[in-house]
């Protein structure tokens, strides 16, 4: 059953196509990966799905549960069940981890915050009272952001480079949380250029220069990704697309 349908999505800036006629159907309760080199348009695609930033002038449509969300702003989309985690999460001076996580929680009890922190591998009593500021590493903020998503109980989650800044020991917690999101009924879209993250998905899309140039199983995409697309300066096109 489809949850998100991206139809003929194109976005241009200064005459350059950032996203070029993207068509994807995302099914419910699945984990997807959108892979590709830096500058391929992966993060932009995530932002367009969430409605973030200056990316509203695209052509085509985004249908969530069969309805267009094109005209909904960020928080309206979030209230429908869509959310996004940033590659480099924001810092919040003075805002405690507990308040930050509670602000997005359906269940606003301390217990739900504690549970979420434990799920991402953080000691609640070490972090609850700390501020989500520069005293935390990028990896710690990443895990806290994921905890804030777990308590939100979303139906569609875009995770931009979920392994960025994460140490090897914590990577398992991140991957467990991704599976937890899926088992609780969410569709997860992983934006990544990491093969390890790609392995967590069930289906993947290869994005290059704003276009989906390959879609298929993880095996198919990872083989292609490993063999031909790094570094991808758009010369290493798939065989069938090569001139």
């Amino acid at each position: 059953m489809g949850i998100l349908k991206i139809e003929n999505l194109s976005l241009a800036r200064n005459g350059n196509k950032i996203l070029d006629n993207i068509n994807i159907d995302f099914c419910k309760d699945r984990i997807y990966a959108v892979v590709g080199p830096n500058g391929a348009g992966k993060t932009t695609l995530g932002f367009v799905i969430m409605g973030i930033g200056d990316y509203k002038d695209f052509t085509g449509d985004i249908l969530y549960k069969g309805k267009s969300v094109k005209n909904l702003n960020v928080y309206e989309r979030a209230r429908e069940g869509i959310t996004l985690a940033w590659q480099d999460p924001a810092r919040f001076d003075g805002l405690t981890v507990e308040k930050f996580i509670k602000s997005s929680a359906k269940d606003k009890t301390r217990k739900s915050v504690v549970d979420a922190l434990e799920k991402v591998g953080m000691s609640p009593f070490e972090y609850l009272e700390r501020a989500v500021d520069k005293t935390l590493s990028g990896g710690e903020r990443k895990k806290i952001e994921l905890a804030s998503i777990l308590v939100m109980k979303p139906e569609l989650v875009v995770l931009d480079e979920p392994d960025s800044g994460i140490d090897i020991a914590s990577l398992k917690n991140i991957f467990d949380s991704i599976r937890l999101l899926k088992s609780s009924g969410a569709t997860v879209i992983l934006i990544t250029h990491s093969l390890e993250v790609l392995q967590q998905a069930e289906y993947a899309f290869l994005l290059c220069n704003g276009s989906i140039i390959q879609r298929g199983s993880i095996k198919e995409i990872s083989g292609y990704f490993e063999g031909k697309c790094i570094p991808c300066d758009h010369k290493n096109l798939p065989e069938e697309m090569e001139p």
């Binding site: 979030a78 003075g94 805002l95």
Partner: protein, 306 residues
């Protein structure tokens, strides 16, 4: 206003019957409650439009419970002058909460003129908590000159808990002797046509003296803020930091002037100042969790002012 109501507004009503808690309550220029503890002398006398207060702490005295000073004005229009002289003997420790309560003010002037001397090796904390009326009909002008003797530690925080700022004009200057430590922090949210002026000066004149000046200001509508934070280091190994963070929305105007002066090559002072609107990434992160724009902004500002 009776003392019970004053303490209730200040949320310190359990202190009213506690013989172990030193306190002084003033309504306009009337002394309505007073209590002291061993080693601490509080003398006060009513003057025209205010009160003259002398507080002395003996050397080697640690005051266990915070001392509460309540300065209230229940009239709509009034002038309240507080002349306050505080000194602590060496190796003593005291924490003072000043509750400044003006719930009905339409034209109230609260003027404070303070002289504080913190003795050698002593610790002194002063937390100023304000409750103002909703319409901001108040002018608050706290002025203090503070001397920290060798090894003394001084900390002050100014915070508006409720109501509108009105006009606020803070003028604090500290002299920090050898190995002393000073921290001055101000957290204020301005709205309407509030006017906020803060001038905080720290003179690090003693070897290894340290000082931090922190201002966190949020402004909305037509409010304005002018922050002058000045740290001067004239002794070796003196260290200081100035941090000013102002968030503005609507037609608010903010200016920050961090002045850093170092006159000894072994001293070091750093500063950071940021003025701007609410950070877009912070805002969109919270909105992507389902918070409306207004709620997200409030939460971001709450964090900054915390």
């Amino acid at each position: 206003m009776n003392v019970k109501n004053l303490y209730k507004i200040a949320n310190i009503h359990p202190a009213i019957n506690d013989k172990g808690t030193a306190r002084l309550a003033i309504n306009k220029n009337k002394i309505i409650d007073s209590n002291t503890v061993p080693g601490l002398t509080i003398k006060s006398k009513e003057i025209k439009d205010g009160v003259d207060i002398n507080i002395r702490l003996k050397e080697n005295t640690i005051v266990g419970n915070p001392v509460h000073l309540c300065f209230g004005v229940t009239d709509r229009q009034a002038i309240q002058k507080i002349i306050i002289n505080i000194s602590t003997g060496k190796n003593s420790d005291i924490s003072i909460f000043a509750h400044c309560i003006f719930p009905n003010a339409t034209d109230v002037k609260h003027i404070m003129d303070g002289k504080i001397k913190v003795g050698k090796g002593s610790k002194y904390s002063y937390f100023e908590r304000h409750i103002h009326s909703k319409n901001g009909g108040i002018t608050v002008t706290p002025k203090a000159r503070i001397i920290l003797e060798e090894g003394a530690r001084f900390k002050t925080e100014f915070e508006l808990l409720k109501g509108r700022v009105g006009i606020l004009d803070i003028d604090y200057e500290t002299i920090c002797k050898k190995n002393s430590v000073m921290e001055m922090k101000t957290r204020i949210s301005g709205t309407g046509n509030d006017i906020i002026k803060i001038k905080e000066v720290g003179n690090l004149i003693g070897e290894s003296a340290r000082g931090v000046l922190i201002s966190k200001i949020a402004l909305r509508q037509n409010s304005t803020a002018e922050i002058i934070n000045k740290l001067i280091a004239t002794a070796p190994y003196a260290k200081g930091h100035v941090d000013c963070n102002e968030i503005i929305q609507d037609n608010a105007v903010a200016s920050a002037v961090p002045i850093v002066e170092v006159r000894d090559p072994k001293a070091q002072i750093t500063h950071e100042a940021a003025i701007g609107s609410v950070d877009t990434k912070q805002l969109q992160t919270l909105m992507s969790r389902g918070l409306s724009e207004d709620k997200a902004i409030s939460l971001i500002i709450e964090g900054i002012l915390s």
